[in-house]
Symmetry: C2
Subunit: 352 residues, 2 copies
């Protein structure tokens, strides 16, 4: 199953079937959970880590037996190559931190990549659910269901006063982080992104680039997530982000309409050139691919390019990533080889 | 007939059927001729200019009657709009100088644009023949045939000592200028163009950009022509340029092979991106179009792009010119409108 997942460029979320997928690429719910009677991962010895992995194995069995959550399997990161782990990072199935030192760590994966559970990352368990479009509520319900199954097979560290206990206090309480990945070429193109996103930052959410903290907003993509996990109910946290997402969606749609009314020819030119280059280039850097991708996605969503499915566009995000490229090729490649392979994969995907 | 010519993007030379058309776009022979008993055009009054135009009318009739040279018609520049004259300049059928002050001037055009005769430019008559590829000898024979017909209906100013007399002494003697338009993306791309062309400049030829003196070598195109018209026989002049052209062709082919052996991926990337942009852009400046054209022509000639005919590529040179664009559209256009129209025409030509 692992190889299927690593090779697949079309996880469930790429279908783009969720609501407001013109702006919201995906919605994610993450629950931080820890086991009673075990020290947090950063304080654990090898034996304790192994024991937690044993409990995680029971979680996998529980999920498979309870049904309705799909088919799950646990993979120890130690059994994977660095390249395989990096593909999981690119797919957002594990965090960069989780992949770095694989000892004593694992990930439980659902077959369609909707659910992943990191074992012995910063917390013993981090349950993640990824849905297409704006489906925070649905992802939250789904994650809650998985959480219930997990809780039925092991004991969480929970305090009536502090809620779920977590390794880092900023996650304590609900242990809930909800986030949306939004594509804002309209706001970026009209120079409004900074203004809109900093205003939103005052509402208790964090705005980051594509690959989490410390990365820039490449391809006009931004990750918006709640900051506060304590002192609000789970429903409040999720509903707050749903409301904020709605505002972002409205602003982005207005900005796209503004672009079209003010500079239709320039927008069409940019969109079509990007599409032309992606379909013909023989050498394509990761950065350039993402910039061009952003223009093409906007063009497809604005019906300037017709007949280009949202799924194909979303899949480009997968197939242009460096580790995925190398995994598909079956070997490590130099940056130049990757740029050639990237161009070949994109061409193939867009002209088939 | 004039409208047919002005609208046509496919004059005979665009077929690219001549030898060495991978490097030589076209070959041109120009004969400067003047009438006895008339002052040179810059010294002529209106009545004399009219009289020369009358003689030119007889030339047209003579060409049509003698047969074998195609069908000819004379057009007075005064009867044309500035835009129509500019299209003739872009088609190299008249010189920029000829179009500027249209009074007392005319052009005799052959239907397939192989022959044009400017009347009352710097000299009374300038017979021009334009052939595809390296066909200087053929163009010279053809021009000589036209010259014979002209001479059979009127009297040339000719001196046994100085040969054909011309308004500017640099054209006296044979009155012959032979030139080739060459496309040298290989030499430009390997930074050898300067070296090769300056070496050639020492062999008594002039090297210029696309639209004659004072223009730069846009699109890696260069016009190479003889400098000397006196003291050499016509055959020597033509053969000298044929020899020089052969050297340029060899150097250019070697340079293209070198590019492919040293940087195949980069060449393919450049060629295909150019093709992609030309097929998709919505706004295209004249300069950018010419740069991209050059890459695409090289790619087609090197078989990197297949199924793209030389004629289609050559026609792009016509349809991207500003006056042609406006003539086809039937009105004057702003630079921005032209850039949009240019992109539309190129897209249509490359995707049909």
């Amino acid at each position: 199953m692992l190889e299927d997942i690593l090779r697949r460029s079309s996880p469930e979320w790429t279908k783009g079937s969720g609501p407001d997928s013109d702006v919201v690429i995906s919605s994610r719910i993450r629950l931080a959970r820890n086991l009673e009677l075990f020290p947090f991962p950063h304080m654990m010895d090898e034996a304790a880590a192994d024991e937690v992995l044993g409990h995680a194995g029971r979680v996998t069995a529980g999920l498979n037996e309870s049904g309705g959550w799909g088919s799950f399997e646990m993979f120890r990161l130690n059994d994977m190559s660095a390249l395989e782990r990096q593909v999981l990072v690119e797919k957002h199935l594990i965090s960069p931190q989780h992949s770095q030192d694989p000892r004593g760590k694992a990930v439980i994966l659902g077959r369609d990549e909707t659910v992943s559970i990191m074992v012995n990352e910063e917390d013993h368990l981090r349950i993640q659910c990824l849905f297409s479009g704006l489906q925070l509520q649905q992802a939250f319900v789904f994650a809650g269901g998985v959480d219930d199954v997990v809780e039925s097979v092991l004991d969480y560290a929970f305090s009536a006063q502090h809620g779920y206990l977590t390794a880092c206090p900023t996650n304590a309480g609900t242990g809930l982080r909800s986030s949306v990945m939004v594509h804002l070429p309209g706001l970026v193109g009209t120079n409004q992104a900074g203004k809109v996103l900093s205003a939103i930052g005052k509402l208790g959410v964090a705005v980051r680039g594509l690959y989490g903290e410390g990365t820039e907003a490449a391809g006009s993509m931004f990750q918006v997530s709640n900051q506060i996990t304590l002192g609000q109910s789970e429903a409040e946290i999720v509903n707050n982000l749903i409301g904020i997402s709605g505002q972002i969606i409205n602003q982005e749609r207005k900005a796209r309409a503004l672009l079209m009314s003010q500079a239709r020819e320039q927008v069409e030119d940019r969109v079509w050139r990007a599409y032309g280059i992606l379909r013909t280039a023989r050498i394509l850097s990761s950065d350039e691919a993402l910039k061009l991708w952003s223009d093409v996605r906007m063009g497809a969503e604005m019906n300037l390019i017709r007949g280009l499915s949202r799924q194909v566009v979303n899949e480009l995000l997968m197939i242009t990533r460096p580790a995925f490229l190398q995994y598909v090729e079956g070997r490590e490649m130099s940056p130049f080889e990757r740029d050639c392979k990237r161009a070949a994969l994109v061409r193939e995907r867009l002209t088939s």
